[in-house]
C-alpha cells in the first residue's frame, strides 16, 4: 500500500463524467474509494484534537487524515501525530484560511480526488463524513457543505452569530440563485476542480466564507448543502468573537462586493 501510494488513481478518474469509467469503478467499501483526504486545521487544540481524530478513525478508518498545525504553541502537533494523523506544521500562526488552503495545496500535489475539511474542536460529527463523500461523488456536484440549519438539530450559539450566518446566508443565496443556509460551515467536501480552485490564488486567505461560496458559484462549480449534526464547541473562542467580529462583518461585505465585481471566467 505505502510504496505504491504515489500511483493511486489521479483526480481525473473521478471527475470524468464517463459511464464506461463509472462501471469499471469498483465500489467496494474500502478500496473502491476514490483517493480521499480529511484535512483539519488546528490551532492550540491539544485538548480536543485527540478525541476528534479517534472519532474520525472509528467511523472512516480508511481515509488518511492531514492535520495542519497552524503554529500552535501547545502540543497539538505531537498529539495529532500520536493519533496516527499526518501533520503539516506551519512555522507560525497564519490563520484558519491559510492553514486550510495548505491542505488543499497538498491535496492537489498528491492528486487527491476528494477532500473533506473539518474543524479540530469536535464541532463536526464524523458520522456525517460518509454522507458528504456520497453526496460529492454525484455527477452534478463539486462542493458539498454540511449545514447545521437544514436539520432541526441541537445547535446552540449566540444570537449575533446566528444573525450573521443568516444574513450572509441570505446574501449568498441571492448571488448563487440557490438556498445557502450555512455559509460559515467548516464541514465541507470538495472534489476535483473545486480542490484546484481552493488551492489557487482565488481563495480568500483569512476566512473563506460566504464570499468563497459565491466565488465558486461564479466560477461554475456546483455547490450543494446537506444536513449535518454540529455540536456546540466546548470552551473555545470562536474565530468570530470579540473585536474580530467587526472586521469579519466588514471583510465579508467588502469581499462579497468585490467578488461580484470581479470577472471570473466560468470553466
Amino acid at each position: 500500500m505505502k510504496t505504491l501510494s504515489y500511483q493511486v488513481p489521479s483526480s481525473e478518474t473521478v471527475i470524468l463524467e464517463n459511464d464506461e469509467l463509472e462501471t469499471t469503478f469498483i465500489k467496494g467499501p474500502l478500496k473502491g474509494h476514490p483517493k480521499t483526504l480529511i484535512i483539519i486545521p488546528a490551532y492550540n487544540e491539544e485538548k480536543n484534537i485527540g478525541a476528534v481524530l479517534e472519532a474520525i478513525q472509528q467511523k472512516v478508518p480508511e481515509i488518511p487524515i492531514l492535520v495542519i498545525n497552524d503554529g500552535s504553541a501547545d502540543n497539538t502537533e505531537s498529539v495529532a501525530r500520536s493519533h496516527g494523523a499526518n501533520v503539516i506544521s506551519l512555522p507560525y500562526n497564519s490563520g484558519y484560511g491559510v492553514a486550510l488552503q495548505t491542505g488543499f495545496i497538498f491535496a492537489t500535489r498528491k492528486n487527491f480526488a476528494i477532500v473533506i475539511q473539518m474543524d479540530s474542536d469536535g464541532q463536526h460529527d464524523p458520522k456525517n463524513v460518509k454522507d458528504l463523500i456520497d453526496e460529492v461523488q454525484k455527477d452534478d456536484v463539486d462542493v458539498v457543505i454540511g449545514s447545521r440549519f437544514l436539520e432541526s438539530g441541537s445547535y446552540k450559539s449566540s444570537f449575533a452569530r446566528r444573525a450573521g450566518i443568516f444574513i450572509f446566508g441570505k446574501i449568498a443565496s441571492i448571488f448563487c440563485g440557490q438556498k445557502v443556509t450555512d455559509p460559515t460551515s467548516g464541514f465541507q467536501a470538495l472534489k476535483g476542480k473545486a480542490i484546484h480552485f481552493a488551492a489557487s490564488d482565488h481563495y480568500p486567505p483569512d476566512y473563506p466564507d460566504a464570499d468563497f461560496i459565491i466565488l465558486m458559484h461564479r466560477y461554475g462549480l456546483k455547490v450543494k448543502e446537506i444536513p449535518v449534526t454540529m455540536h456546540a464547541s466546548p470552551e473555545k473562542e470562536s474565530m468570530h468573537h470579540g473585536h474580530k467580529t467587526i472586521y469579519y462583518v466588514f471583510k465579508m461585505f467588502l469581499s462579497i462586493f468585490v467578488t461580484v465585481l470581479r470577472n471570473v471566467s466560468k470553466r
Binding site: 501510494s5 480508511e62 503539516i88 498528491k110
Partner: protein
C-alpha cells in the same frame, strides 16, 4: 510666505533628500522605495525655494495661504507613499503566505520520505501516516 517657515521648509527638504540618498548608498533603502521620497523631497524643495511657483500652485488649488499649499502637497505625497506601502505589504503578505504553506508541505514530504528510506518496505506500521 514668511521667511522663517521658508528656511525651515528648505532645510527639511534638503535633509530629507540627502538622507534618502545616503540610505540608498548604504543599501538600507531599496531604489524602488526611494523614488517616492525623492519625488516628495524635490517637489517640496522646489515649492519652498521658488515663491513664484508656490504662488502659481496656490492659485491653481485655490489656497489662500502659501503655507497651506505646502501642507496640502506634503500630505498628498505622504498619502500616495502610504498607499504604495499598503500595496507592497499586501504583495509581501501573499508571498510570505505561499512560502509558509510550501515550507509546511515540504517539511511533511521530507519527513515521509525519510521514514520510507529508513524503513524496509516489508515493514509497515499500522497508522495511516504512510497512506499519503
Amino acid at each position: 510666505m514668511p521667511p522663517k517657515i521658508q528656511i525651515i521648509s528648505i532645510l527639511i527638504c534638503i535633509f530629507l533628500v540627502a538622507y534618502v540618498f545616503e540610505l540608498v548608498r548604504r543599501k538600507h533603502l531599496n531604489e524602488e522605495y526611494s523614488m517616492g521620497w525623492l519625488i516628495t523631497g524635490t517637489s517640496m524643495l522646489a515649492l519652498s525655494v521658488s515663491e513664484g511657483l508656490l504662488r502659481w500652485v496656490s492659485e491653481l488649488v485655490g489656497a489662500t495661504l502659501f503655507t497651506s499649499t505646502l501642507f496640502f502637497f506634503g500630505l498628498l505625497f505622504l498619502m500616495i507613499i502610504c498607499l504604495h506601502f499598503s500595496i507592497r505589504i499586501s504583495a509581501l503578505t501573499n508571498q510570505v503566505r505561499k512560502l509558509t504553506q510550501s515550507i509546511g508541505i515540504l517539511d511533511l514530504e521530507n519527513k515521509t520520505l525519510e521514514r520510507q528510506i529508513r524503513q524496509p518496505p516489508w515493514q509497515s506500521d499500522s497508522s495511516n501516516v504512510e497512506q499519503l
